[in-house]
């Protein structure tokens, strides 16, 4: 019998194992300042770019003038969705690049604990990514995105969860088809961008496309954001729609990831990753 009584791992769910995966990725971030810089770089550049566009529009568009922070808020919230997706998929691909999945899954780590670790790591990476841009918007453009108040938490949480769902599907596809499919992490999310109503209301879309847009949690969030900024109304119906859709998508995405993991075990893919 092993002398290390703690070394068993039969528990169905272990926060300690999830913490171990997060610790592993925290070490990666901590060891490389360019990685940390890269996380914050694009959201900040985006915010600065859209800040200038907003400044220009303020003098030329009565729509934007009604709510000066609408474009910057939209940019920052879009980055929450984008970074949440990358937070899951890049964290997973880090294991594939390191050819570490085989080692991890001969330990007592369970696949659904990996899913939990990926989502928590995504939360950390997203917070690191968008916080500097959100804070810089105040001195640069006098936009304090936190003035959205409690609705901001609801928007952030819903976009985060939708990003997780997309990230889990991308991770599953990369596991199934190999690192040749890694560019999906960057491009898949843009399929939902035109339908999310980030910078324009959903009723701008053609009638036949609007039901498709409303099937996305992100459309509910961005409409909700405009409602707060233009009308000072927090619409609970939009929040409820986003939460319900997110619950369904997260369950489906997690199920898809776990099914793909099973397929990977059948095909021997856990030992054959890498470039």
């Amino acid at each position: 019998m092993s002398a290390h009584a703690g070394a068993r791992g039969g528990a169905l769910f272990s926060w300690r194992r999830i913490g171990a995966v997060i610790l592993r990725h925290t070490y990666v971030l901590r060891s490389s300042w360019p990685r940390l810089l890269e996380l914050a770089y694009w959201p900040t550049v985006q915010m600065i770019l859209w800040g200038f566009i907003t400044t220009f529009f303020l003098g030329h568009s009565s729509w934007v003038a009604q709510a000066a922070g609408v474009l910057i808020s939209a940019v920052l919230l879009w980055d929450v969705l984008f970074r949440a997706n990358l937070g899951v998929s890049l964290t997973f691909m880090e294991e594939m690049w390191a050819r570490n999945l085989g080692q991890m899954f001969v330990s007592p780590l369970r696949p659904y604990e990996m899913v939990a670790a990926l989502t928590l790591m995504s939360l950390i990476r997203t917070a690191i990514s968008v916080s500097p841009a959100a804070l810089l918007a105040l001195p640069l453009y006098d936009v304090w995105v936190f003035s959205l108040g409690p609705p901001l938490v609801a928007f952030f949480a819903n976009l985060l969860v939708f990003g997780w769902s997309i990230g889990l599907v991308v991770s599953a596809l990369v596991l199934r088809f190999g690192l040749g499919a890694e560019s999906l992490a960057w491009v898949a999310i843009f399929a939902v961008a035109p339908l999310s109503g980030i910078y324009y209301p959903i009723d701008t879309l053609p009638g036949w496309l609007q039901p498709v847009a409303w099937s996305l949690p992100s459309a509910h969030v961005f409409e909700g954001m405009r409602s707060v900024l233009f009308d000072d109304v927090f619409r609970l119906d939009l929040l409820a729609g986003a939460v319900a859709l997110n619950a369904a998508y997260l369950a489906l995405a997690s199920g898809f990831f776990l099914y793909t993991f099973h397929v990977a075990r059948r095909r021997g893919l856990l030992l054959q990753q890498g470039e």
Binding site: R8, A98, M104, P108, G268
Partner: protein, 256 residues
Amino acid sequence: MDPPDAVVAVDTLVKRFAAVTAVDAVSFTVAAGSTTALLGGNGAGKTTTLAILLGLLLPTSGAVRVFGEDMLRHRHRVLGRMNFSSPYVDLPRRLSVAENLSVYGHLYGLESVKDRVRAVARDLDIEPFLDRPTGELSAGQKTRVALAKALLNEPDLLLLDEPTASLDPDTGDWVRSYLETYRHRTGATILLASHNMGEVERLCDHVLMMRTGRIVDRGSPDDLIARYGRRTLEEVFLDIARDRRRGDTDRDTAAQ
């Protein structure tokens, strides 16, 4: 019914990848406290068999029991009592050795990770490079680090894939000595795949000879050498790998 002292019991294991049968109706048991070798040429099915035992790969059919647990249904009940090392499965290169060992210490739920990492590092003589990135180590150092990771939870069953591949003779001998000591100290069971016949003769009580996915012979190294009328296990290996029966080589030699 598995033998009462069997730590590993494999029954009619089959693994097919499309038209290729990598493991073909393999059955064997590994007795508690023994060191058993899976021998065979490249593509014989050794690594596939180890991957199935570890739960990384699902078999097409057959049964695998480890410590009496069905590995296809309940592998998480026993994975904490097992561990694995292979020169072909990396640890993250950017993490330092100490960080890697710490992560795996937590994954295995060790009670005192720092103390255990320190103890394993001392045992395997890797203390001088605990703070170096794992990717910057030499092959011999990486092998010792991989072994340290495999011994973190002091496993009752240790699976090793070519534990001394690409090591110089001195480091290879050091690893073999360490494995002997570990087994005698803990009573652990070891199953290893190897191409090094000297290593197998020295370490193993039992040998499973594989060719094209099948176990074609088995026995202790001495028993196999005697049965094939050879002087070394390497000669037996060549006979089996080339599908020669006893005496074929003598006749070939006489005919020349």
